[in-house]
Every structure is written in C-alpha cells, then in structure tokens.
C-alpha cells in the first residue's frame, strides 16, 4: 500500500510543532534554566554616558562585599590581551572599556559573585570617574570635519568614517539619467530598531581545569561560529571548546554576534575555576546588543514618459554605532542592500554607500532579514510609489509595466544578482483582487464623507535568502555552506543533526518532514537535534532565512545518500540486482513486481543484522551543502488604511499578503512566520524605534518606550499563496522567515502616504506616529524622523 505523505508528516503536512509540547508546558530549557553546581553569577556595570574618557575606576568597595569573588575591569582584561575582540565585520570592539566609553550602556566592569543580587549590589559600589566628551548621535555630526574622533583607538582611522563602498555601473547610469524624461527622487530615514527577542542574551561559561575543557551554554544562533571565534580569541584548542545552545527564546539576528558578556564570563570561569552565569537584563539587551537598520536612504529614478524605468541611483548613509559589528558576508559592506529593485527590469543602477561611527550601540545586525534587505526593499517600494506619483500613473500599473516577466528568469539584476524565478504579476493580481482595488475610489469617497482619509499601499518584492554560495559569501573567511547528519537506527527510527539552530522557528518539526519526504520514515520517528558543537556537524547557523535554503537542502541530500545505501541493502534482501530496484515513498520494490518489496525500516534492520558481504555496516551519512545560488522568494503586500485627520491616528482596514516561498514544507509554520513578520513590519511602520537625544541618551531602552505590538492593536492579516518551486533547491523550497518583515513596512507606509498624496506630502519617516501624520497633514510638508529629538516627559 502506498504511503500517504501527509499522514506520515511529510512535505505539505501542517504538522503540529513538536517543540511546542515542552514550551506550552513550561518545560523549555533556556540558558537561565540551567543550574550547575557551584555556579557563580556575573553582572555587568554599564556606562551611563555616551562618550567619555575614563579617568579612574575604583572597585575596592565592590571587592570588599561579602560574596564577591571577582571584579573585572578593562585593565585586567587588557593584561590578558582580552580588552578588545574582533567583530564579524573586521573591526574591533571593546570587551570592557579601557580608554573611553563610546556609547551609553557600554560594558565597563563585571562583578562575579555568589548570587545575582550581590553582583548587582556590588556593581553599585564601583566608582567610575568619567570626563565627558561631546557625543555624536548621527552621521551628519559624525561627518563634520571638526567632529571629535570616536575611534581614536584605531591606528590609521581617519575621522569617523567606517567605509565607502559602491556597486553598479556609474557611467551607464549617468547616461540613463541624461536620457530620462522624468527624474523622480526620494529621501528617507529607516530608523534604528531592535530585534528584542523575549529571551535576552546570556551564557554560562564552565571551564574545567582538570580536563582543559571549556563548555559554554549560550543563546547563540550560530554556535559553530562562536566555537571558532573562541578558539581564535581565547587561544584555546578547538577540540576542547564545546558550545551548547539550549532552547532559544527568539533570536531575530540579535543572537548572531559575540558580545562582551560572553568573553568576560569565559575569562571569569577560567580565573575562578567555577561555572559563571551571565544573564543580561532587558535594558542591557536593548541598549547594548545588535540593533537593526538606522540608515539614511536617498535615491532617484530615471523614467521614460510611458512609465518605463531607465535607471536607478541609490545613496546610503548608515550609522553603525561605536563599533562596526554588522553581522554580514564580508564582501558586502552594506549587506545585500544592492538586492533592491530585483523584481523590476531596470537596465542600469548604481549605489554609493557610506558608513559612520557614532556614540550609539554597535550592531547593524540583520534583524529578521538577509543583511539589509529590509532597508533595500523598503527604499525600493517607497521609490516606486514616488515615481508612479510623479508620472501620474496608477501605482499597480506602474509596477506591472516594470516587473521582470516570468519567462525572463533566470534574470540578472542591474546590481548583478541572478534571480531564479518569479511570478510577480500573478502575486499582484491576487492581492489587488483580494483588496478590491477596483472599488477603492468609491470607498475613498465614502470615507471622505465621514471626514476620514483612505489610502492604499502596495509593496512587491523579491529578496535573496539563504547565503551562500561559497564563492561569494563568507563570514570572516568561513564559507557559508551548511550541513546535516542522519543516522538511521536498526528499528528504522532516526536521529538528524544539522549545523543550523532553531530558535522558535520549528526546525525540530520541519526537518523531520524533509526526511519523511525523502525516506518515507514517519516524521514522528525522527529526532532532530541541534546546537551542540560536540555532536552537530559544522554549520554557519540560522539567520538571514538560510536554514531551509541551505541546511534544509543538506537534509534532503543526506537523506538521499542514505537512500542510496538502503537501495543496496534492498537489492540484497530482495535478491535482485540494484538496477532492478524501484523506489516509492518508504519502500523499494522489484521492477515489474510491485508486490515484492521491502520497507526502509527493513533496510535499516538489515544494515545492522544482515548486510551483504563486504558492505560497511550501519546506515548513516553526512552531507555538506554549498548552494549554487540564493533562493528568491517573492511577495505582494497591500494595506488599506484609514486616517483620522484630526489626530493623525491611522487604522489598518485590511491587509493582504500574497507570498511565494516555493514548496511549503509545513504550511502552518510558513503562515506563522508570515503573520509574525507582518506584526513586526506593522510595529516598525506604526510605533517602534530607538532614538537618542542630543546627549546620547537612548530613548527606547525599555519596554515603556520601545514598543512591541500586542494582539490588541495588531491588524488581522489575510494570507494567500503562490507556489513557484525554487529551480535549484533539492526540494524546491525557498526561505520565508523574513519575507514579511522585509516587504511589509513599505505597504503600511505607502498606504498612509497614498492617503496624503493630495496634500502634497511625499514622505513621513517611520514610525508613522500620529503626531507625525498630523504634522504632515497640517503643514503639507514631509516629516523626517531625524535629527534626534528631546527625551520624554
């Protein structure tokens, strides 16, 4: 009897998430749940000011407190060559400050004590004498010729510039602009935001002097990268370093980098010879760990009267904070910003990017996006709307005219990417139909009678997910491939390990489904394990939607390797030659005689009990997968909003999402990812940002001011799907974890701006808070979020 793939939890099954069984019972095991015998607790003292020279640090009162075991300062770190550490972008970052503090919240000292209360009390006893320096809180100030130099620690550093970088064909693009009928421009700021996972960062470092083994339990999205980095920085032999990531309470890119707290906790454990636990508090997480965005985006589009786009210019100025610690492929200084306009057929483009240091938290992590793709797509869709407006063309029609057509794939974009597939027009049509675009003018007129303004906003995009290939993508020189290891036990049950790391994303569920699809072993019979570098094969971790595109492919490939061996076992059991064996889900049979067959489970047993002479026993394998290209999911998001012009408050009346992420392994999980992503997109568009006042004090360092949307205000989302299998992925899947965060914000913003078009307003910077919308409405002028404003009441 043929197996029913959905019943065994294979491809396409909306299988319940197996990890939820422990989560909803409160039985998850997070770093802070781990208690080791004799464990000490570490607390970090942070800088209260944004920019200051450290004149002196007096730790004597802290040392004197009963229960305090160790107080670490930058000077003590420096004595062990650990005061600075490398970042993921070839810069250096202070572990504990020695010379200066460079942002509010920077790590200055650490206290290790018998319990966290004592550690916290002792931090309060440390006296640091700061000589305040003028803070720089935006790139405009940073670029000023007279600006104080933030990174005076770096030999050869000139001013506050981090990099200049360009891509594209400047000469050809200049020509396109010279030939244009119309040139459309837009300028905006994508504000700083924070991934803010529910669980903060934290670790337990456990150094055992007797064995020389260092075990670090930590909340990392990329444990193997951490192992490599610790081997390099701490100069410990790599075989003696074990990184274990237990359950992760959300990552969103925040848990890719290596933070000072990890390094200090490791040293503290080596010095005290005890396990040392460090759990960051919420404010610590918000003010010191990897933020997202914070980029000024400027650009223009060369247009022909009939609506054809002739060329695009982009200019980005990014704020990296005090240390350039973006987590991104090393070749690209501003991530994959140049993926902008990939779904449009544009002959030529050029981008110039500049990065600056400021006295703000370091980061520039890919917050739920594939390295700055969020900024790219936001700029793209805001630019497209401005261009359609300038041409007086319908916004949907303008997109339609310029889309890369389905049959043009694979398509080389103006910035050099190769998109693999796309049905953008189909997505748009489904979206327009769902939102009843045809009827919008009538609806708008009806709302006007009630004194309300209606707007509709479209965002269509395709984005590159799943780095590498290894030719172009590496982090600190390590190529971006991934891996899977599959062991089939004799009873036909299996253990799968990968180099990726789930973080609430459902790996334990979906990975088993891929194996079920390839081998016909029920998903429930497959245990998925990740996150322990002593057992998992090497992988680059989970971020940038790369797990399904890369590790997911490795899983399919390793299952196929296992199947190839099982075929030999089947031939042996069925006493025919291998060429006469056919495969159907979960079973081999003799060609021409479907009745005569053996199951995959039979083969598994044979691998341990009845293998043919000369065959290596066992049924297991490893696969390393280096993807030929990135995967290119695409989507169309449309928002319809209503504005109360007396207050500037806006509500979402309807939101439609049409996503194509290729073959859906677990449709329920895919939908969950899209819903979650749209919620974050709504947050950024509506309420959420981190800003700094003139003194460099962060606004948005706690949940009273850094707003996470709740179920109450988050609008409902209507989801639709298109399925275009990825042509080069073994199971046709693409990444999906980030599509909605990437493409969503522009739909909301475009909708509000669409409602304001008649007022002559072209841009309001995110978040579109009511006061900003009201200001635009009453002044008829654009509203910019920067320069920084004064802090709150």
């Amino acid at each position: 009897m043929k197996l029913d793939e959905v019943k065994i939890g294979g491809m396409g099954a909306s299988r319940r998430r197996v990890e939820d069984n422990r989560f909803i019972r409160g039985k998850g095991n997070y770093v802070d749940d781990i208690v080791l015998p004799g464990m000490l607790h570490m607390e970090i003292l942070r800088s209260p000011v944004a920019h200051a020279r450290i004149k002196s640090i007096d730790t004597s009162a802290a040392w004197d407190m009963p229960g305090v075991r160790l107080v670490l300062t930058g000077e003590m770190m420096a004595a062990r060559n650990l005061a600075w550490m490398p970042t993921l972008s070839y810069d250096t970052q202070a572990v504990l400050a020695t010379d200066k503090v460079r942002f509010q919240g920077q790590e200055v000292c650490a206290v290790i004590a018998d319990d966290p209360y004592i550690a916290k009390d002792a931090c309060g006893k440390i006296v640091v004498d700061y000589e305040i320096l003028p803070p720089i809180v935006n790139p405009v100030q940073a670029a000023d010729a007279n600006a104080i130099q933030i990174r005076d620690d770096k030999a050869g550093q000139v001013g506050n510039k981090v990099f200049d970088w360009e891509i594209g064909d400047k000469a050809r693009t200049d020509k396109a602009f010279a030939d244009a009928d119309v040139v459309s421009k837009i300028e905006l700021h994508y504000p700083r935001t924070h991934p803010s996972p529910m669980e903060t960062c934290g670790s337990i470092a456990d150094y055992d002097r007797a064995t020389g083994k260092l075990t670090v339990y930590m909340t990392s999205q990329a444990p193997h990268i951490v192992r490599a980095a610790v081997a390099m920085v701490a100069e410990l032999p790599e075989q003696n370093i074990r990184i274990v990531t237990p359950d992760i309470g959300g990552g969103f890119g925040n848990k890719v980098p290596i933070y000072p707290g990890y390094v200090v906790a490791i040293l503290a454990s080596i010095l005290t010879e005890k396990p040392v636990k460090w759990i960051e508090d919420k404010t610590g997480n918000l003010i010191s760990t990897g933020f997202g965005r914070d980029v000024y985006l400027k650009g223009e589009m060369a247009l022909r009267k009939d609506g054809k786009i002739l060329g695009v210019r982009m200019n980005t100025i990014s704020d990296h904070g005090a240390f350039f610690s973006d987590a991104q492929p090393s070749k690209f200084k501003i991530g994959l910003m140049h993926s902008a306009f990939a779904c449009y057929d544009i002959p030529t483009a050029h981008m110039f990017a500049t990065g600056y240091y400021t006295n703000k938290a370091p980061g520039g992590v890919a917050y739920r996006c594939s390295f700055r793709v969020t900024e790219a797509m936001f700029f793209q869709e805001r630019m497209v709307q401005a261009a359609a407006d300038d041409l007086g063309m319908d916004q949907a029609e303008f997109r339609r005219v310029n889309f890369v057509k389905d049959e043009q794939h694979p398509h080389r974009t103006a910035f050099g990417f190769l998109t693999d597939s796309g049905q953008y027009e189909k997505c748009l049509d489904i979206g327009l139909e769902a939102i009843n675009y045809k009827n919008f003018a009538a609806e708008k007129a009806e709302a006007a009678k009630r004194g309300r303004l209606l707007g509709i906003g479209i965002s269509v995009m395709t984005e590159p997910l799943g780095a590498g290939n290894s030719r172009e993508y590496d982090i600190l020189g390590i190529k971006m491939f991934d891996s899977a290891e599959l062991r089939i036990h004799m009873s036909g049950k299996a253990l799968l390990r990968t180099g990726s790391r789930g973080q609430g994303t459902g790996h334990e569920t979906t990975w088993a489904q891929i194996v079920a699809h390839e081998l016909g072993i029920p998903a429930d019979d497959i245990l998925v394990e990740e996150g322990d570098t002593d057992t998992a094969p090497f992988g680059m971790g989970t971020y940038a939607s790369r797990s399904t595109p890369v590790a997911g492919a490795a899983i399919a490939m390793v299952a196929r390797k296992v199947r190839a061996k099982a075929r030999k076992l089947a031939a042996h059991l069925l006493e025919v030659s291998e060429e006469d064996i056919e495969w159907e889900l979960g079973r081999f049979y003799v060609r021409g005689n479907q009745e005569r067959g053996v199951t995959i489970q039979d083969c598994a047993m044979a691998a341990y009990s009845n293998m043919p002479d000369g065959m290596e026993p066992g049924l297991e394998n490893v696969a390393y997968y280096d993807p030929p290209n990135l995967t290119w999911p695409f989507a169309c998001y449309i928002a319809k909003v209503e504005i109360d012009p007396e207050t500037g408050v806006w509500d979402v009346l309807q939101f439609v999402a049409v996503d194509d992420c290729g073959v859906r392994i677990n449709p329920m999980i895919v939908e969950g990812q899209i819903m979650g992503g749209l919620t974050e997109a709504y947050a950024m568009a509506n309420m959420q940002y981190q800003t700094y006042d003139e003194e460099g004090n962060i606004i948005g360092g706690n949940y009273m001011d850094f707003l996470l949307p709740t179920a109450w205000e988050t609008p409902g989302f209507e989801l639709y799907e298109v399925v275009t299998p990825c042509p080069h992925h073994p199971i046709g899947a693409k990444g999906v974890g980030e599509c909605a965060t990437v493409g969503g914000p522009a739909a909301f913003v475009n909708a509000v701006m669409n409602a304001l078009t008649e007022k002559g307003v072209r841009n309001i910077d995110m978040p579109l808070m009511p006061n900003r919308v009201y200001e635009a409405l009453t002044t008829g002028k654009d509203v910019y979020g920067m320069p920084p404003v004064r802090s709150g009441n």
Partner: protein
C-alpha cells in the same frame, strides 16, 4: 529582577499595617497591585527597607454606591473590577470609559485604583479621573481617619499629601445632583502605553443642562493637571457648539505639554482640545433622561 534587599511584611489588618509603617519611619512602602512599585524596585528607583503587602487584608475590595449615589472604591479594587462592573458602567461613565484604557489587560488584573491615585504618576489615568470627578481619598493613620480632597491630594509627580504612616483606605466620589455623564479619551502609542495625552471629563446633568462639570488631564504636564475651572463655560448651560468650544479652549490652555518623542507641545495641546470636544459632543447628542 534584582531589587535592593528589603524586608517583606504581610499584615492581616489595617491597624497592623499602620503599625509597620509607623515603625518604618518612612522607610516602609505599601505594596498594593505592585504594578508601579515593583517596576520601580526592579529599576532600583525605589529601595525601601520594608515592603508592607496589604493584599492579605480582607474587606478592602468593595465598590459601593450609597443610597444617595456616593461611590466608594476600596483600596484593593483592581482596575479590572471597575472595567467589568455593571454598576459603574451605568452610573459613572467617566470611570467606565477610563477603565479599559488603563494599562493592558494583564496589568489591570493586579493594579488598584487607589494605588494608582496614591502613586500620582503624571501620566496615570486614575488621578486625572478622580480630579475631574471631584473625589477625595480617605486615609487612616495611627491617629485615625481623615479625608483629603483630590485637589489637595496630588502634590506633584509621584508625590501625594499622605504621611508616611498612613494608608489610603478608599476613594470617594460624590453623587451627582442629576445624572452622571462624561467620558475619557486617551492617545496612546499602543495598548499598555501610558498617555501621550489623556482627557477626563465628568458631567453632572439635569435634562440637557449642565449642573456640574470637571476636567483633568494626564500626560501633558509635570503632574496631573486640574482643569476644573473650565466648568465655568458650561454651568447652567446646554452643550452647544459655542459652550463646548469655550470649555475645550479653557482646558487646552491649562495643559502644560512638552515637546518630546511623542509629539510637539502644540500637537498635544491640540489633542487635548479635540478630545474635550469629542467627549462633550458625544454627551450632547446623547438622549438625556
């Protein structure tokens, strides 16, 4: 959370609690719903030597209307009780309108009305509501009880006129001469957010004539703003476009907003004026019994 070390006491009577406070000489703090105190302990903005938990004192969770319509709210009445009370929704529309706008549903199950008024947060919703309703607080100390009118209760941001050895026992809201009307509007960035600007309007109406009116504001000044003088625009009058505009203008002038990341001072003042008008307009079109 890692607050400073404190001693925890959980008395069973008001008298015991007062003794503890008295002995504490100002270093003991009452814990009611904990929704303001606990965050302050966590941030170490507050570091009392002793916390006196009053949650185990029975009989303080009453919502009671006297025969004449005077309302008493006991010290352990949670925001949620007010939100769900049918009596309140029928007889005190300003409280009924404010209750679902205070904090978020989770906080509302713990936080207390009286605790919020005591806390005197300039952005707090209940102190504003109480000022508009011309309420008072009954406090009890070693020497017995006394009543403090709201206008004398809130001294400034997070400061009230109670002595360290007193407990607020209940809030009292006087009965209307006619029918209680009014409303509460709040501009917030998200559910659970404190007010960018909040407006409490309490009306006492006989037919369609206003016989009493109160106004107060939260979020638009260094303390809760008493704008009761705007009543002068309405007393003895009907709610017409002209009287509404006049009252709204007076209230808006009383606001002391600051420009910050939530908006400009002018914007907040505009919101106050808009909200006053909206509440009054809604009450003028209401069928009056």
């Amino acid at each position: 959370m890692y607050p400073s070390r404190f001693k925890y006491e959980s008395p069973n009577t008001v008298e015991e609690a007062i003794k503890l406070l008295d002995a504490g000489k100002g270093e003991a703090k009452i814990l009611a719903g904990g929704q303001s105190l606990v965050p302050m302990l966590k941030l170490r903005f507050a570091f009392p030597e002793q916390v006196v938990d009053i949650n185990n004192i029975p009989g303080l969770d009453y919502i009671r209307f006297d025969a004449d319509g005077t309302l008493h709210i006991g010290a352990l009445v949670r925001h949620e009780h007010l939100e769900k009370s049918l009596e309140i929704s029928k007889r005190q529309p300003t409280i009924a309108a404010a209750a679902p706008l205070v904090a978020d549903p989770i906080v509302r199950t713990r936080g207390t009305f009286v605790g919020s008024v005591c806390h005197a947060d300039p952005q707090g919703d209940w102190a504003a509501t109480m000022i508009a309703l011309n309420g008072s607080i009954i406090v009890q100390g070693p020497k017995g009880k006394r009543t403090i009118a709201m206008k004398d209760f809130v001294l400034g941001p997070y400061a009230n006129s109670m002595n360290y050895n007193e407990i607020a026992i209940e809030a009292v809201i006087p009965a209307p001469q006619g029918v209680a009307r009014g409303g509460y509007l709040k501009l917030e960035r998200r559910v659970g957010d404190f007010a960018t600007a909040s407006v409490a309007v309490a009306l006492d109406m006989k037919g369609d004539v206003v016989v009493g009116a109160g106004f107060a504001l939260a979020g638009v000044g260094g303390k809760t703003i008493d704008a009761n003088e705007a009543a002068s625009a309405l007393l003895g009058q009907k709610l017409t476009e002209a009287t509404i505009a006049k009252a709204a203008a007076i209230v808006a002038a009383k606001a002391e907003p600051r420009t910050d990341h939530r908006g400009s001072a002018e914007y907040k003042r505009h919101i106050v004026e808009t909200f006053v008008k909206r509440i009054l307009v809604a009450n003028s079109t209401q069928k009056v019994a």
